[in-house]
Symmetry: C2
Subunit: 159 residues, 2 copies
């Protein structure tokens, strides 16, 4: 890279015109299954914020899914999981990583979440945590969550 | 089966000489991968009680494993996970189910655990919970844990 190009590159990248990631695109292929599952979890998260957690879970849980809730006993089956969700809570999450088996039908994601809810006195509180979802590709090709587990994390340090 | 054989069968089975399960072996094949992974988690649990949780984790964690501890931030890498384990605690668990991808290199187990530890005053306490382990088969064919996550459960009802 000659000097002019270097300066141009620096301007584009560090001037914020182009993200450095734009120069580090992974080729499609080996990791495309991973990316597809990660994108599914991202869409799931968008649906939770855009509609409600219960509506998003209704879309993305497999019928035979299981939830392992923090502080509670295992909840078996999509309908039982949905019945246990509180309306009014806002659940948002950020998927961090996805992995898919070579055979393509089983995978998992993990990430961090924020639950905007109310405490026992009705005062708004934010709870922070992390989750693991295990996913199974359905016969129609759609990824659905077969296991959902979360636990608490410390609140992030103030910026 | 004629009458003599029937009586012999009944004697063997109900006399306790032969377990009824001996006649109900699942054929190796479809579920043998699941059983092998479940057995690996059972051996992992036995090692934890027989030696110590830290020694068992040292044997069964992949070098690049991650732990998502309840109440804490993610811990990345086997050495960091081992460094965070308290000596003296007794961690026992009961694997409930294993699933393995068709390709055979990725799987998961879940189960319930008991942690026999001490509270802030040094008094012995038992904490109950459940866990998910995600496993990856290594190049040498051994299953190792790549992700370990747990959270609390209510204490079981008194018998």
């Amino acid at each position: 890279m000659n000097k002019t190009l270097s300066v141009l590159f620096a301007l584009l990248v560090f001037g914020g015109v182009v993200s450095p990631n734009a120069f580090a695109q992974k080729p499609a292929g080996k990791n495309s299954k991973q990316e597809a599952l990660l994108n599914t979890d991202i869409e799931f998260a968008k649906a939770s914020v855009g509609t409600s957690a219960a509506e998003a879970f209704a879309m993305y849980l497999a019928d035979d899914s299981m939830q392992l809730p923090a502080g509670g006993n295992p909840i078996v089956g999509k309908q039982a999981i949905l019945a246990g969700m509180r309306s009014g809570d806002v659940l948002s999450w950020e998927p961090k990583k996805a992995e898919v088996a070579k055979s393509g039908e089983l995978g998992w994601t993990w990430g961090t979440f924020e639950l905007h809810t109310k405490d026992a006195e009705g005062k708004p509180v934010v709870r922070y945590g992390k989750y693991v979802n295990i996913w199974r590709k359905q016969k129609d090709g759609a990824w659905k969550v077969i296991l959902d587990m979360g636990n608490a994390s410390p609140a992030p340090a103030a910026p």
